[in-house]
Amino acid sequence: MLSDLRHALRSLRSNPGFTLVVVVTLALGIGGNGAVFSLINGLLLRPPAGVAEPERLVNIYTSDFSSGDFGTSSYPDYEAMAVELSAFEAVAAHDVRLLSVSTGEQGEMLAGELVTPNYFATLGMAPAAGRLIGAEDAPAPGGEAVAVISHRLWATRFGSDPAVTGRGLRINGREFMVIGVAPAGFNGMMRPIASDVWLPITVEPLISPGSDDLTSMRSRSLMVLGRLRPGASLAATQDQLAALARRRFEQFRDSWVTVRGEGRRLTAVPEPESRLPPQIGGAAVGFAAMLMAVVVLVLLIACANIANLMLARAARRRREVAVRLSLGASRGRLVRGLLTESLVLAAAGAGAGVLVARWLTDAILRFRPPVAAPIQLEAPLDWRVVAFLAGLAVVAALAFGLLPALQASRPSVVPGLKGELAAGRTGRRFGPRGLLVIGQLAVSLLLLVGAGLFLRSLSRAQAVNPGFDAGNVVVATLDLGSNGYDEARGAVFYRALLERLRAIPGAQGVTLASAVPLVDCCGRRGTRIEGYTAREGESTEINWNVVAPDYFRTMRVQVRQGRALDERDRAGAPLAVMVNEVFARRYWPGQDPLGKRVSITGPDGPYREVVGIVQDGKYRSLGEEPLPFLFVPLLQNYRSSMTMHVRAATDPAGVLRAVRSAVGELDPNLPLYNHTILTEALAVAVLPQRIAAMLLAAFGGLGVALAVLGLYGLTAYGVAQRTREFGIRTALGAEPRDIAVMVVREGVALAGVGLGVGFLLAGAVTRLATRFLFGVSALDPATFVTVGVVLLGATAVASYIPARRATRVDPVVALRYE
C-alpha cells in the first residue's frame, strides 16, 4: 500500500499540469459542496451549543386560529403545560423580541428573549460566566431586574470582562443588571435569529408597559419547549398533549377555538426537526435540498471531466501497464495502484476544497438579508463538515478513478508493448469519454435551465405592480415602547415627529404605518364583518395595517371611493376604517361598502365604519392572490412601534439622514432600525428568486465551463488520436474545410445528444422547483430554447478550436509509416 502511495505521488509529481488541473477542478466541485453543506449544517444539523442532551428536547406548538398546527402559545397555556404534562421533566417558554439595548452609548436593536425561570435549567446549560436566570430572578416590586447576555455581546460590548456580572445594561429604557453570560455559540433556540439578551419573562410589564402577555389567553407569542423524562416516548407525549388540548377547549371555548369551531391542537416536534420554525422549515429544507443538488451536480460534472482526463492518460500509459502485466502484476494490483492515485488527487482536491468552501461561506455569510430580525447564519467547520468532505472525496475518487483504472488495466500485453492502438473501431463518438461528455452537457443544461428559470422569475417579480409607489420612499422603524413611552407620551411624540419630518427639505409626503407591505407585513385580526356570515370553516382573519394621516398620498395608493383616513379620525371621533377593493367585493358584493361596519376586537365591537375604499395591492408577497385588507387610523389605535414613511423629491439618501437627525433631536436614546430606502428593502420580496438565480447562475456557469472544457478536451484528444485519419482524408482529396466541418459536426452531434438528454432531465426535474418560481412555467419554452442555443454555440466553439488544428495536419507526417 505504501509503495502504491509512493508511486502515486511520484507519478503525479511528474505530471504537474495534469495534477494541477485535477486538483483545481476538484477543489471547485468539492468546495461548492462544502460551502452549501456547511450552511445546511449550521442551520439544520448542528445541535444548539451548550445544550445538554438535545435529543430529549421537543418544541410544543399550539395550533393557530386559522394558520395551521405550528403556532405560538399564551402564558396561561404554558402554565397549564408545565403543570399537567407529566411526560416532561420540565417545560419552559421563551418569547423572542426586538429590544433596544444600550451600555451607555446609542441604543441598538437586538434580538432578545423573555424566558421562564426554568428556561436555562431545562436546556441543561452552564454559564460561561456568572450565573443563568433561575427562579430567584422574578423581580420583586422595586427590585432589580436581571439579564443574561450572549457570549458575543460579552465580547463586543464588555471586552470579555470576567467581572461583567453586576454591570448595568439599559434595555427598552430600563436598567438591568448583568448576572451572567450564556455559553459560547449559544444564539437562542430560534434559528436563524441570534438572540443576545435573555430576561426573566416576569419583566414583561417593565419593558412593555400595559402588555397583557402574562395573563391573556388571546395574547399568543410564546415558544414552548420541554425536556422529556428519560425513556419517555414522543407517542406518549402526544397522548398527553391531546388530552390537555381537549381539557383546554372544554374550559376556554372562546379562546381555545379555531376557525373551524374545533378546539386547538398541541403538537410536539423533536428539537432536531424544529431547529427552524416549522412554518418555514419545509421551504428552507426544500431550498437547501435544491442547492445541495446543484452543487452535487457540479461535482458530478467535475468528476466526469477528470474521468475524461484520466481515460486519456490511461491510453497514454498502456505501454507502462503492459510492462507491469508482463512482469506478473495482477489486474487487481494495477487497479489498486491506479485508484491510489485517484485517492491522492481527491485528498488534495478536498484539502483545497476546504479553502474554497471557507471562501464561499465567508462570502455568503457577508450577505445581510434586508429583514428586521438580526439573522445570524453560521457555517462552522466542525466534524460533520470534515466527515462530509472526506466521504465526498472518497466517492469522487471512485467516480472519476474507477472506470479509467479498469480501462487502463485491461490485459492486452502485446499491442501495449508495441505501442499500438487497440485494433478495430475507435468508437470515438460514444465511447466512455463521449458518454461522459454527454452526461456533463446534460447536467449543465439542467443547471443553466434552472438559472434561467429563476432569472425569468426575478424579472417577472420585479415587473409586478405592488399597488404602491416605492420609488424615493425612505422608511425607518422606531419602537417607543422600547424606550419606556406609554400611550400618552407616545401620541405626543408621534405628533412632534410628524411635524419635524414634514419640515425636512425635499420631503413630499410624510406618514407612519405599523407595517411595510412586502417587507414587514402585516398584523392579522379575526374580523367580524357586518352583514356577512362566514361559511363553515372560512377564515375571516384579515391582514391589516395601522396608518397615520397622509399614508395613501405618501405611498401613492389610489382611493377609489369615499375618503382617505386623515386627522378627522382621531381619538374620540367615530371609529373609522378603510378596506381595499377585494374586501369590498368579497364581503359586500353588489353593495355600497361605504358606511358598512367591521369589528377587529370581537363580536361585541366596537365596530368601525368604512370611510373609503383603496386600490388592491400586494402585501405579503408578490405572488399572492389578491388579499382583503384593512387600514386602521393610528390616532384611534395606538401602536408603540411604527415605521416612518417619507417620500423624497430627489435625494432619498439625504432625506434618510435628515429623518435620523429629526428622531435624534426628539429623543437621542431612541434607536432606529430598518432604516433604508424602500426600493432596497423591497428586495426581500424577491430574495428567494434572487438567491436561487445568483447561485444557480454561478454554479451553472461553473458547470458549463467544465462541460465545455470537457468537450474541448475530448475533441482535442480525438484530433490528436486521429492524425493519421486526417492525413488519409487529406490524401484522398479532403479540403481543410471538409476536415473542420467534420470535426465540428461530430462535436456538435455529441453536444446535441447531451442537450437532448439534458432537455428530458430538465423537463422532469425543474417541476420540483415550481414552488420557488414566480410567473414562469417550470417548462418555460423561451428559457429552454435560449439555454439550448447558448450551450450549442459554446460547444461549437469548443469543437472548432481543435478542428482548426485538425486542418493543419501535415499528411506526409501523418502517413509516415513506422
Binding site: A423, G424, R425, T426, G427, R428, R724, E725, G727, I728, R729, T730, A731, L732, G733, A734, E735, P736, R737, D738, P811, V812, L815, R816, Y817
Partner: protein
Amino acid sequence: MTAQNGSLIKLAGVTKVFYTEDVETHALSGIELEIREGDYVAIAGPSGCGKTTLLSILGLLDTPTRGEYFLDNQPVASLTATQRAGVRNREIGFIFQAFNLIGDLTVYENVELPLTYRKMPSGERKKRVMAALEKVGMTHRVKHYPAQLSGGQQQRVAVARAVGGDPAILLADEPTGNLDSVNGKAVMDLLRALHQEGSTICMVTHDPRYEEYAARSVHLFDGKVVSEEVGKAGAGPAT
C-alpha cells in the same frame, strides 16, 4: 485527361531539402522524371533514398524546395491548398503500405470517401463504389469494418478506394510491405490487371521481385536518379 501516351507527369530539377535545427537533409536532388499515360513505373532504391518523398511530391502531399512539377502539362507550384486537394481527389489515387483505411467506416464507406469529397450524387457514388469493389473482388464485404478483414483484403479495399474515382494515376507506396508473399503477389497481380486495363501506375518498392511487374524502373540513391530500366512491361514473376 491527356492524349494517348501524352506526358502526364513531368519533374524538372526537383530538389527537396528538410531543415531540422542546424541540420540540412537533401532528400531529393535535381530529379528529372517523366511519366506518360499508361506507364507502369517502379521507383526503387534502398531505405532512406528518397522514394517516399518523391511519391509525396508526385501526390501533391508535399512541395519541392526547388524545381518544377508539371501535372498534365500544368505547373502545380501555384495551386492553392484547396486546388491541390481537388487535384488529389480527381487525378490521383493513393495506395499505402499500411492500407490506411479508416477504422470507423465500413468497406463501402471507405471506398466512397473520396467520391463524397467530390460532391458526387449518391446514386453515381454507389455505382462507382460497387464497380471498384467488383474489380478487386470485395463486394461481399461491403458492410464489414477494416478490423474484420485480413491484411490482403484490406489492401484490396484500399486499391478499390484508389481506383473508384477513376484517377489519372495510381501512386502506390510499398503496397505489399505489410503483406505476406501470397497476399503481396495477389495485390501485385491486381495492379497489373489495372495497368492492363489502362491505368497509369507509379509504385515505390524496395523489393526486386515486385519491381519486375513495372514496365520501367527508376532507381534512386541518396536522393538522385542513378539508373533507369525500361522494357519489362507486364513481365513479373511467373504465376
